[in-house]
Amino acid sequence: MGAEATGIHTIPGHPEPLTPEQAGRMAQKQIKKHHVAMILLHWFNAAVWGMEVVTGMALITSEYFRVAPWWFIDMVERFFGGRANLLQFHIAVGLTWITVFLIYGVFGARTYLSKEVLDKEVALDRDDFWWMIIRTLRLLGLSKKPLPPQGSYNAGQKMFALVVYAMVPVIMVSGLIMTFHWFSTTVVGWAVVAHFVAVGVVVSGLMVHVYMAAVFPEEKPAFFSMFTGNVNELFAYHHHFKWWREYKMDEAAWKRKIAQKGAGAPDDDGASNKERD
């Protein structure tokens, strides 16, 4: 990498080895990864999932469908003071969850759910495909190849997001069908099954998500970024190079704009900037 990446031309197109000084400097610098709204939504979602999975498992008592041991079911039931309270709590939390996500969908769609954001943060590309193969081989100790550069979310996180995006509507709609007894008895019966399967699929991914974020050493900055909103630049460079590069390009553009303002240049980054480049 060049001396100090302040100009677009000095920002590398591919990850390059860093000098200890560069790495030390980058490790000290924090860059913004998540908005406050996203952090709050993430932890609200985590709390909802914790409560709903616990109460949901305790709600299934049929010998045919039960997944939790009896001691767990009895414990949760006693905590809530009966099965009716348990179901009411499960429904109340679920409806709150749906309401919050609807509000988020209405007000945050432009910021968080635009095609541009989804293409960048959720859609899988060729690098993601190879990342998953090499990541798996590296975890098994079968490869030492470097991982392909990643965007703001790595392929694993994107895969989990895709699973969640597919399953959450199923969970919400099936929950509403059960709560309000929409359609026929047959539909309600299938809604129970769909609810169970969709939650099971997400929980499988959730276990990997929680492990990779909270326990896996290489991803710890990502975990803490869900509290602070920031990651250090070194982590971004190593784990989310494409996102880091984009950040540096934006930063360089911003610095140029500030410099132009200081020099009395016109307040637009259109023609005058292009001429300068």
Binding site: L59, I60, T61, S62, E63, Y64, F65, V67, R83, A84, L87, Q88, L139, M178, H181, T185, T186, V188, G189, W190, A191, V192, V193, F196, V197, G200, V201, V203, S204, G205, M207, V208, Y211, V215, F216, P217, E218, L234, H238
Partner: protein, 243 residues
């Protein structure tokens, strides 16, 4: 602990449906739905060899009720007194129990969208009263009591006068509604109103047979993978400096 049962004397029953009306009124059962039904076999045979019988059915509060196990949320349960109850606050209206009852004694309330059935008038019996259908029966054909009480009428009818359960070889789950009648009447009723095989809806079959094992395998395999990765991480240790 009491073990409640009902005995219906088919020889006395005149098929007036007063029991159905009393029950529906007592429990606000919507029009077109019944917790207890009165049926008639119609005339069987040719004069002078003609026979017929009235049949009154309701939830049998079976010893081994097939409706309890399929209920996902435990809304249907059997109390210590043997009465099969439905906790409507927990019922989600999936209808699995409706299909599971071999006597078709359950229905989904069209307004509440939850399951409904006879509960031997638990609220009344708790106050020391008899079920509404028993007190209303114009022919005094219905008897209710405790089979553990040797002095009760139902004890004597079941254990001394041979009141019969409506069961088949295939479906024998211990119904606690017994019938008194002539041999011919009981044969007619058993032939015309036999219990069917308990059914599980396709959703329940898929859930228990395919999807539950699949989901548990997926979650279990993920957990096992995480455990292996975690122990590998412990063994390898963490590096102070990243390359």
């Amino acid at each position: 602990m009491p073990r409640y049962a009902m005995v219906i004397d088919l020889r006395k029953c005149i098929g007036c449906s007063a029991c159905t009306a009393a029950c529906s009124t007592e429990w606000d059962v919507p029009v077109g739905y019944r917790r207890t039904r009165v049926s008639h076999t119609g005339e069987i045979g040719k004069f002078p060899d003609v026979s017929a019988s009235v049949f009154v059915d309701q939830c049998n509060h079976c010893d081994d009720p097939s409706c309890v196990k399929p209920c996902p949320t435990g809304a249907t349960y059997q109390g210590a007194d043997g009465i099969v109850q439905v906790d409507r606050d927990v019922c989600i209206g999936c209808g699995f129990c409706v299909e599971a009852c071999p006597y078709d004694a359950r229905h989904i309330d069209p307004f509440l969208k939850k399951v409904d059935k006879c509960d031997f008038c638990s609220a009344r019996t708790a106050r020391g009263e008899l079920p509404a259908c028993v007190t209303t029966c114009t022919a005094h054909a219905k008897y209710f009591g405790d089979l553990e009480d040797r002095s009760s009428e139902v004890f004597s009818m079941v254990y001394e006068r041979g009141a019969k359960r409506i069961e088949t070889e295939d479906v024998s789950i211990g119904p606690n509604v017994y019938y008194l009648g002539s041999e011919r009447q009981l044969d007619l009723v058993a032939t015309h109103y036999p219990p069917r095989q308990p059914r599980m809806p396709a959703a329940g079959e898929w859930w228990s047979q395919v999807l539950k094992p699949l989901v548990l395998t997926a979650v279990g395999a993920t957990f096992a993978g995480q455990a292996v990765a975690f122990f590998y991480q412990l063994w390898k240790g963490e590096e102070q400096f990243e390359e």
